[in-house]
Amino acid sequence: MNLKGTRITVHDMSLRDGMHPKRHQITIEQMQSIAQGMDAAGVPLIEVTHGDGLGGASVNYGFPAASDEEYLRAVIPLMKQAKVSALLLPGIGTVDHLRMAADCGVTTIRVATHCTEADVSEQHISLGRKMGLDTVGFLMMAHMIEPQQLVEQALLMESYGANCLYATDSAGYMLPDDVTARIGLLREKLKPETEIGFHGHHNLSMGISNSLAAIEAGARRIDCACGGMGAGAGNTPMEVFIAVCNRMGIETGVDLFKISDVAEDLVTPILDFPVRIDRNSLTLGYAGVYSSFLLFAKRAEAKYGVSAREILLELGRRKMVGGQEDMIEDAAITMARERGIQAKTAA
């Protein structure tokens, strides 16, 4: 694989996807110090939002330590070179949230839908573009459909005004060939000026390999997270990816030693548990289940006595999509009842 001289943009997820393993409890001060570290390391784009996007503060996904607006207003003014993005899932967040984020100074809005439902994003993408934002269409759980179908959905988002389209491996299920097929076809069918991006999860340890496959197939934006942050077993690990890019001559503009210090000194100390591949995050990648279901399944295991792995497999069997966190407790209760397990009394 010769990618020498290829320039790419790495987009950091530590402060958005990384909110999942932190149960959205990253403090303002932690956000500020991690973002400043990344800014100094040369990370060009940093996402700051509730793990489930703008407006994600809820019983269903978890109430965060601070509001989206508080986080954005705290981080953005401190950035010397890095730009800040926000994520929005239509159905959870609305154009009101988008306007708020733009007012806070985000330069990029990423509008995320399940990979087959791009047409719910029209009002958000067209507004983002109208406001002059870098507007990204983010097609989640992209492993669930064939490359041709993914292209059809991406074309819709492009037609609404998205200037960058992502194939998002929310479950960390894809293998490099799956990435090549999807990114390759997106590159072929979308306008040449439309950027292509890839968002990986490390559940099968494929974060780096998949990201390289994506670059080879034409992607120029790659999502990563410092210190193994991110839902499931984390996103593509930033510092490792930068090291690999350096070795291969892929230009990221990020300083390897500085970013590995951010990972080691700022991110690792705030983790509540090591974000890594264990039997449950492995199950996400193996069965193709939305990565942020992980902690919910573990909590349901503790409360209802059905193993998280079995709950995750059941959710995969039922073809649950991103956002259906409510169905985790529902599935656990049903499974416990069918097995005659007495639920532990509520904590």
Partner: protein, 302 residues
């Protein structure tokens, strides 16, 4: 005694499903189907079922309202044209049941406030959203027992049951439902989330209702209240089922619902659409009872 005559505006999926339900009603008789497209399948279907039809919109219906004795109209078109439709028909003394997200009249969720609306002779009531009809009764089931500081609903619907109108303006669903979860459901603050799932075969509508109570939840009373409410909704949506819960977890009270439709015109998985047409039918029947008893006489708007 003769039935109360009704017109349906909008011969699409919702309008046609409504037509099937009205034909079964002992109180209501659908007589007009109003569309804008002469080649509409929905209009043709209505004609086959013996209704008068027009492809000239509400203006095509207006000259016939008096002669045909139309007293109730259902609007299953879009928020953009609803006010115009409602004004024209209200002026002739026709009461309007609004299935669009326009919401110019008060929200109506039958087991909670239908009686109050009928008593107040409202000329326009709005049926909120599908997610609202499926969840607000359960918010109310908790809030009538004790104070609910926050209620949040998650409606998950089959991709095939979500039409282009909803998709183009999904924020309207979120906003309208959140508002009604608070104002009709009785929570201090409301939030609504909608998830669209493309699984095949299509999943039956699922709804999760989380309430955060101010004080420790009164479990026995809430359980009884939820059971009673379930029975109330089942009177017009037999496929409204409590799958799990109420779950009590600290101050959180969660009920997990499933809504299976009757499968009249729309498939059974589309419980989200069925509960709208069923609630609208239920609403019209309540107004019809009031009209037939003479307690309610609708008069042309001044």
């Amino acid at each position: 005694m003769s039935k109360i005559k009704c017109a349906i505006i909008g011969p699409g999926n919702i309008g046609t499903d409504l037509l099937y339900k009205l034909r079964r009603s002992t109180l209501l008789e659908p007589v007009w189907m109003v569309g804008v497209d002469p080649t509409s399948e929905g209009l043709a279907r209505a004609r086959e079922l013996g209704l008068k039809t027009t492809d000239k919109g509400v203006d095509g219906l207006v000259p016939h309202v008096k002669a045909d004795g139309v007293q109730i109209a259902f609007d299953a078109t879009s928020a953009y044209v609803h006010k115009d439709n409602s004004d024209k028909l209200n002026a002739l003394g026709v009461m309007m049941i609004d299935l669009t997200p326009a919401a110019i009249g008060p929200y109506c969720v039958p087991p909670i406030n239908l009686k109050a609306h009928a008593g107040k002779r409202e000329m326009n009531v709005n049926m909120v959203t599908c997610g609202g009809q499926a969840t607000i009764p359960m918010v109310y089931a908790v809030s009538r027992v004790q104070k609910v500081k926050y209620a949040e609903i998650v409606a998950t619907v089959a991709s095939k049951s979500v039409g282009p109108g909803t998709r183009k303006n999904i924020d309207e669903f979120t906003r309208t439902t959140s508002g009604a979860v608070a104002s009709v459901g009785g929570a201090d603050v409301g939030k609504a989330i909608i998830v669209i799932n493309p699984a095949e075969p299509p999943l039956i509508m699922r709804d999760t209702i989380h309430c955060l109570t101010a004080e420790a939840p009164k479990q026995k009373e809430i359980e009884a209240s939820v059971r009673d409410m379930l029975a109330e909704v089942q009177k017009y949506v037999p496929g409204y089922r409590l799958k799990n819960g109420p779950v009590f977890d600290g101050l959180r009270v969660t009920t997990y619902m499933e809504v299976e439709g009757l499968g009249d015109f729309l498939p059974k998985y589309a419980g989200n659409l069925d509960i709208m047409t069923a609630a609208a039918t239920r609403t019209a029947e309540m107004f019809a009872e009031e009209m037939m008893s003479g307690r309610l006489q609708l008069e042309p708007a001044a």
